[in-house]
Each structure stands twice: as C-alpha cells, then as structure tokens.
C-alpha cells in the first residue's frame, strides 16, 4: 500500500464511501491530518498517546459517518476531522472527570458545526461500545459477519475467503453467528438497559 498522490476532499470521500480498497485513503488521512489534529488535542491537555488514540477513533468515526452518507461536505475534511477529534476528546475528558477548566475551554470554542457534529459523535459513541462485543465471537464468526455485512460479499464470494463447503453452509453459519452475537449483546448491561427502555 503506497500513497502515490494526494486526494482531493471529493476523491477521499469517494474512496471511503465506495469501500473499494479505502486503505490508501486512510493512510492519506493519517499522513495529512494526524499531526494537526494531534497538536490541537495536545493543546487541550491530551498526552501524545491520548492524541494518537483519539485520532484513531476520529478516523473510525469519520469513516462511519461518511459510509452512512451523513457527511454533507459543509466544511473541509480537515475541519471536520478536527471537530470530530474535539468532540471525542471532550467526551473522554468528561469520562475521566478531569478539571472543569478544560471543559470550559472546549465550550468556549464551540460553534454551530460543532453542535451538529456533537450529535453525530454521541450517536457513533453508542455504536462504538458495541464494537468490543464482536470480539467475544470466535474469529471464524467474526470474519464471516464482517465479510458479509461490511465488505458486502455474497455467499459465493465468501467461499473464496473461508473454508466452507458451499453457499448453504456459509448461510447457515452466518445465521448462527448473528444469533450468537445478538445473545452476547443481550447480556451487555448497556444493551439490556436499552432493550428494557424499548419494551416500556
């Protein structure tokens, strides 16, 4: 994977939303935007490691937002990434219950774009909590579900990646894996709480 050239904002969005080998686009994001975003976070009290972790989550959130068609290109990608990072870091600071001082600093710099992104990020952070539950599945199940629901591969195509006999076996296995995942999720306090709310 070698980034040969630059991506314009439009090309970057196309590469990520198309899901066809977006690795170059992700690498470009790291090369072009990680330093600026990290410096910004360090100014707001993040350590280098925090900044790096938050930037990773920023990229993940950005990809999710783009792939769900929620990025409206009302700002440049750079501005958008910094806003996402700012929101994620602010929430992280809240979680860590640090001093009010940094919180106030964040609040003073917020504008309308930040308010909009804030909603997207709180929605994404709920999904992020689900992520770890997928790792409670065995590797074959995880891979199978990712190939089907993320890579959008057909049962036939999945056969070339996983050692199953035929498409019907893949279909049955996927059914079982999805069942297993929903069972794991039901046990999670956050999901159980949400489900209780829904049944009220």
């Amino acid at each position: 994977m070698k980034v040969e050239g630059k991506f314009s904002d439009i090309e970057l969005i196309a590469a990520i939303s198309g899901k066809k080998d977006p690795n170059e686009a992700i690498l470009f994001i790291y090369q072009e935007f990680s330093r600026t975003t990290s410096s910004f976070m360090i100014n707001y009290g993040a350590s280098e490691q925090d900044a790096e972790d938050v930037f990773q989550e920023t990229v993940i959130a950005f990809i999710d937002i783009v792939q769900k068609g929620k990025f409206r290109m009302q700002s440049s990608i750079k501005t958008f990434l910094v806003s996402i990072a700012r929101n994620i870091w602010r929430n992280e600071v809240k979680r860590r219950q640090r001093s009010d001082y940094r919180e106030k600093q964040f609040e003073s710099g917020r504008d309308q774009t930040e308010e909009d992104i804030s909603e997207l990020i709180s929605e994404w952070e709920k999904k992020k909590q689900l992520r770890d539950l997928v790792y409670e599945l065995g590797e074959p199940c995880r891979k199978l579900l990712m190939l089907f629901y993320y890579e959008n591969l057909s049962m036939k195509e999945i056969l070339t990646y996983l050692p199953y006999e035929n498409e019907q076996v893949v279909r049955n296995k996927k059914y079982k894996c999805l069942q297993q995942l929903t069972e794991i999720m039901k046990q999670h306090p956050l999901i159980a709480g949400q489900l209780n709310e829904l049944t009220k």
Binding site: M1, I26, V59, D64, Y149, Y175, T182, M185
Partner: protein, 258 residues
C-alpha cells in the same frame, strides 16, 4: 410475533443490500416483540461494521507508524577500492596463495550449505519501540525480551491478528527453530498483502521467509525470494542479500540438487 427470526434475518440482509421491502418494515413496526428483535439485529450489524472499520484503521495506522519509525537507510560503506601494487615479492607469494586458495575452495565446498548461509546472513529482527501502540502489547514486550514461547502465546491470545503479529510470531518460531511454523506465518503475511494490496511487513516477511527456507535446508525455495530481493533496490533487505556471496549460494544450490 408476526415474523420468525429467519424471516427477520432475510429481511435484514435484503435491507442491508438496499432491497428491503416496505411491507416487511410495516409488519415489523406493527408488532412490538418483532420490532425489538429487529432492533437487536440492527445493533448487531452496527457492531460488526464498527469492528470491521476498527480493524481496517488499526491495520493502516500500524503501517503508518511502522513507516514513521523506519530508520534512515544505512549509508553505504564509503571505503574506496584498494589499489595494490604487484611486486616481485607478491608474485612469489602468489604460488603460496594459490595453494592456500585451492585449499580454501575445497574447504568452502565442504562446509557451504543452506544452513550455513542461514547462520551467516540471518540477523535477528529488531523490533522498534512502537510509540503509538493503542495498548501495551504483550506480544511485542515478549518479543523484545526474547521470550519466544510468550510471543507465541501472545499471538494465540490476540483477538485482532494483523501482519505485524503474524510476522513476530514467525520470527519467534524461527528463533525457536520451528522452521515450518515460521514459514507458515511469513507466508500468511504475504498472502494477506496480496489480497489487500498492502505491503505491510512484506519486505520483512519475504526476507525472513527466505531465511527460514535456508534454515530448513531448502535453498530451492529460498532462491526465487533472494533473487527478487536482489533485483529490487528499494527492498529493505536488498543490501543484505547483495552481500550474500553468489559463490556460496551456487555451491549450496548445487549441493541441494545433488
């Protein structure tokens, strides 16, 4: 419930592919129990998507960090050619040298083999400090401490196995003289790169795969890799392979054929 689980999953898959039916959506929304089941399934798909994006970004981040930590290329040895004048004394010494040389060739033939080449050219892989590790990595710590068994254990425990973990597991196998296992690990790195179009740990895997074949006394398998590395001046291990004596390689190859 108006729909069973299987029907719901079929509808979920169709919706995921953009072919969901409005009628089904209506039926789901009309029954609270089915709506709840539907909600759980949608959450499960969200979770899978998040995990997939996380793995994708983690892989690229690891590559980006690896590129950043790559040391500046080593400078070429600046020593110039040594010009020797041939004196009469030297001519007289030539006869002696010829005898010594002949003995050396005979000795070389007798001792040169794949495993000898492996011992001569395989240097341990130094793992750079990974500044950006998301979490302290048990496997990398074990590798730095040269605790090969712990590297293998760490690999088995790893939830997300990327090229770096396969590579380090391969190196641990190579150090522990489990050559077949090492070969499998390095081949996995190269196969993953071939599928994804990435080159993450590709150079390292190619070189140490060649070394593993040599260690296993199988120079026929090592030669195509060594030739490829020698032909590619941008390869990280080009300089090492160029230094490998072609005479040694040819002797080992010849002996292997015999």
């Amino acid at each position: 419930m108006v729909m069973n689980r299987e029907q719901l999953i079929d509808h979920l898959d169709s919706t995921h592919l953009g072919n969901g039916s409005v009628d089904m959506d209506t039926r789901i929304s009309e029954d609270p129990e089915t709506a709840l089941e539907w909600y759980q399934l949608r959450l499960a798909v969200d979770a899978v998507e998040q995990a997939a994006i996380y793995e994708q970004v983690s892989t690229v981040k690891a590559e980006w960090l690896a590129r950043q930590s790559v040391a500046a290329p080593t400078t070429a040895d600046g020593s110039g050619a040594v010009i020797r004048s041939i004196s009469r004394t030297a001519l007289r010494a030539a006869a002696v040298l010829f005898i010594i040389g002949s003995s050396a060739v005979i000795y070389k033939y007798s001792v040169t083999g794949s495993t000898g080449l492996y011992s001569a050219y395989c240097t341990p892989y130094e793992l750079n400090t990974s500044r950006g590790a998301v979490l302290p990595d048990e496997m990398e710590e074990a590798y730095k401490n040269k605790n090969w068994a712990a590297v293998t254990d760490g690999f088995k425990k790893k939830k997300v196995k990327d090229n770096k973990s396969y590579f380090l597991a391969g190196m641990a196998d190579l150090e522990a003289k489990k050559y077949d296992d090492a070969i499998g690990m390095f081949q996995q790195v190269m196969a993953a790169n071939s599928l994804s179009g990435s080159d993450y740990f590709e150079d390292e895997a190619e070189f140490y795969l060649a070394m593993s074949w040599l260690a296993r006394n199988d120079i026929k398998e090592a030669m195509p890799l060594l030739d490829k590395i020698r032909a590619d001046k941008t390869h990280q291990y080009h300089d090492v392979v160029v230094k490998m004596s072609s005479l040694d390689l040819r002797i080992a190859e010849y002996k292997d054929l015999k």
